[in-house]
């Protein structure tokens, strides 16, 4: 190493090589260009043929997978929404039906009660009427008896007092 440096030192003034700033040393350009071309082409081939397609494939696969999963999730969500809607609808109809049944039952019971009440009332009123009739008849009969008793009593009194026998017609006339 030291010797090499020494030799360059002694040679420097002769060919002026030492003064050249290394990046501008044109004597080294050729080798750099040759190897740059070789390495860059190898890298380009490796990247374009192997690395990029592989990475692209993996990324695409992942994208597809995510898309699939998202679609599946959306589908399931739609299904859930539908199920909820169905459930709510069923609940609404059930509630309506229950209301209907309750209403119906209430109406039916009311009608039954009304009918029974009416029947009972009718029966009672009929009974009351017949009782009234009977009472009226009894009354009339009783009044009839009273007249008859009064007549016979009058006839008897007149006969006892006057000693004359009055005809029924006369008595009736007199009592009126």
């Amino acid at each position: 190493m030291a010797e090499k440096s020494n030799t360059t030192h002694t040679e420097v003034p002769a060919d002026g090589h030492k003064a050249v700033f290394p990046p501008f040393d044109s004597s080294k350009f050729e080798a750099q260009l040759v190897w740059l071309a070789i390495t860059f082409i190898i890298l380009y081939v490796v990247i374009s043929r192997m690395a990029l397609p592989r990475i692209g494939e993996v990324l695409e696969e992942r994208q597809d997978r995510i898309q699939r999963d998202m679609d599946e999730a959306n589908r399931l969500k739609e299904e859930t929404d539908k199920a909820i809607a169905n459930y709510e609808e069923a609940l609404a109809t059930a509630r309506q039906k229950a209301n209907g049944i309750a209403e119906e039952t209430r109406a039916k019971l009311k009608a039954e009660i009304d009918a029974e009440q009416k029947a009972v009332e009718e029966k009672i009123s009929k009974k009351a009427e017949s009782a009234e009739n009977r009472i009226a008849k009894a009354k009339e009969e009783a009044f009839g008896e009273v007249n008859k008793i009064a007549q016979s009593t009058t006839a008897t009194i007149v006969e006892k007092l006057v000693g004359a026998k009055l005809s029924d017609q006369d008595i009736e006339q007199a009592l009126k």
């Binding site: 440096s5 080798a31 750099q32 890298l43 592989r54 696969e61 992942r62």
Partner: protein, 263 residues
């Protein structure tokens, strides 16, 4: 003594040392420290990209998520600037990004990490203008080649901005000059960033050694350049990533001109 000198000289780290001299058909293809770090960058990045995806896991592990993040990062960049039809350039942009990123980052690692390698310094491939210029020229060749292939002479509409006719004689030369300066700015930006960063780090690291040799007071004072060195190292990692990103972004922007020359 030579290595000590090299240890403090901020330029020494950029020297290209031939490890195995080689020559094919009269072309110098010597295996140098630069070659070694190119091979390292390509080997490590290829190994990383391939082995991290070996599991092909649906839920990625650490390595796999880093590889996927890089993929999506550059894929989004290309898609945003070039559109879906521009995805044919994705492998090129991705390769450029990965190559520059790995060359930048590996150059930042202390050489001792590769203790088996008989080189005292880490070497940054991208700190040489010839390398960055070659990459920039690759981009411009693809731009011009694709532009001519796709649009024929219509590609040259790129130099005719949408302005009143009177202004064209002034603006067309400006457009042409700005187009021609693109490979220069593209390559210089990366080269200068890498070079300056490594020089700055080396200078401050050198201060630590120089101050340390001045006795107790010097050792105490050397805390300052040490702190700056730590901060610079962090900054350089950011720059290493940022420059790779900038290179990829500009590549996309230039490619857009090839796809849609008439602004």
């Amino acid at each position: 003594m030579a290595s000590e000198n090299g240890g403090l000289d901020p330029i020494h780290q950029f020297e290209i040392k031939t490890l195995f001299p080689m020559e094919f058909f009269g072309v110098d293809a010597s295996f140098t420290n630069s070659t070694l770090y190119m091979v390292l960058a390509v080997g490590l990045s290829a190994a990383f990209l391939i082995f991290s995806m070996r599991g092909r896991a649906l839920v990625p592990g650490r390595w796999q998520s880093v590889a996927e993040m890089m993929y999506e990062f550059i894929a989004n960049l290309v898609r945003q600037i070039l559109g879906t039809e521009g995805m044919k350039f994705f492998p090129l942009v991705f390769t450029l990004f990965i190559f520059v990123l790995f060359c930048n980052v590996i150059g930042l690692l202390p050489a001792d990490l590769f203790g088996i390698i008989p080189i005292p310094h880490a070497f940054t491939v991208t700190s040489h203008i010839i390398v960055t210029f070659a990459l920039a020229m690759l981009v411009m060749t693809v731009v011009v080649g694709y532009g001519l292939f796709k649009h024929g002479l219509g590609f040259f509409k790129l130099f005719i901005p949408d302005v009143p006719l009177v202004l064209l004689p002034i603006l067309v030369p400006i457009e042409i000059i700005s187009f021609l300066s693109r490979p220069i700015s593209l390559s210089l930006r990366l080269f200068a960033n890498m070079l300056a960063g490594h020089v700055a780090m080396k200078v401050f690291a050198g201060f630590i050694v120089s101050l340390g040799s001045l006795g107790t007071l010097g050792i105490l004072a050397s805390v300052m350049p040490f702190a700056i060195g730590v901060a610079l190292t962090a900054l350089e990692f950011l720059v290493a990533f940022l420059q790779a990103f900038v290179f990829a972004t500009l590549t996309c922007i230039y490619l857009r001109d090839a796809m849609h020359p008439s602004h």
